[in-house]
Symmetry: C2
DNA sequence: CTTGACGCTGGACCATGGTCCAGGGTGTAG
DNA sequence: CTACACCCTGGACCATGGTCCAGCGTCAAG
């Protein structure tokens, strides 16, 4: 059946072989089985799991957090799973809010900056708090 | 005048002394002057600069990026400063979009999860791609 | 002058998330 | 059987962003 070696698995998901082994060391992704020789074999389940790990990572979750998320799928307690998801949701919303504040600040700076003229007239320079814009005493 | 030792500076901004020295090693924050003894002295300008570093960091900028941002305040080329700010703005907007996608996915999961019953009915568990929810071949 | 807080330097150490290498063995096609 | 790609393990190494320590000098109040 669809059984992959570590190289094929890594290629499918676009990660390095070492990364797959690193995830294994980190307790995130175990091979479905091993050949007599010790070669790792992966099934579709591990492919899905590895893709999930990568997706979650891109979205700012640490490997530790991802491990917790993954652990929830084994803990068959639906209530706890839901609560954990809610916590992650709140966390993501906080991150968004912080970035939105940054975006607003940046966009105000960009739109009020004439883009020419004296540095002293540039709101971006002023807001950076650089030496050129601050009192030296 | 308002001249601070490294300890006072660190306390005002809420960072450790070692962190201030680490930023100095990284080329982000030099003391305004040194006493004969070698003690670092900081003025208001450095206080502002340190606060800027922290703010930017919270918003996901690396120390390297912060260094670039700070360098712009010395480059008195307003055009380049504005362009750099626009690039950062686009970057922040991308991060927001990625997080919003994650938030939407998470919130759909949370709101469609009954919070009780069979694990098989929990959309969160299903989406994790865990072994409990996948075919084993 | 003594004491205690504060500061100095250089270098070790930490966690995170990999990445690479040596020195082997294995799998398979020709 | 030979070749060559693939895989194994263990351990070193990397960048980032700190954090801590030893061993020593300094500053300021009492």
């Amino acid at each position: 059946m669809t059984s992959l070696g570590i190289g094929a698995l890594a290629k499918r998901v676009g990660v390095r072989i070492d990364t797959v082994r690193y995830y294994e060391r980190s307790g995130l992704l175990a091979p479905e089985s091993r050949l007599e020789s010790g070669y790792r074999r992966y099934s579709e389940a591990e492919l899905t799991r590895l893709r999930f790990i990568r997706r979650a990572q891109v979205l700012g979750f640490s490997l530790k957090e991802i491990g917790e998320l993954l652990a929830l799928s084994k803990a068959r307690n639906v209530v706890r799973v839901k609560r954990a998801a809610e916590v992650k949701l709140a966390d993501v919303e906080e991150r968004i809010a912080a970035l939105v504040r940054m975006r607003d600040a940046l966009s105000t700076l960009v739109s009020t900056c004439p883009g020419h003229g004296e540095p002293a007239d540039c709101p971006i320079l002023k807001s950076l708090g650089g030496e050129d814009c601050n009192e030296h005493s």
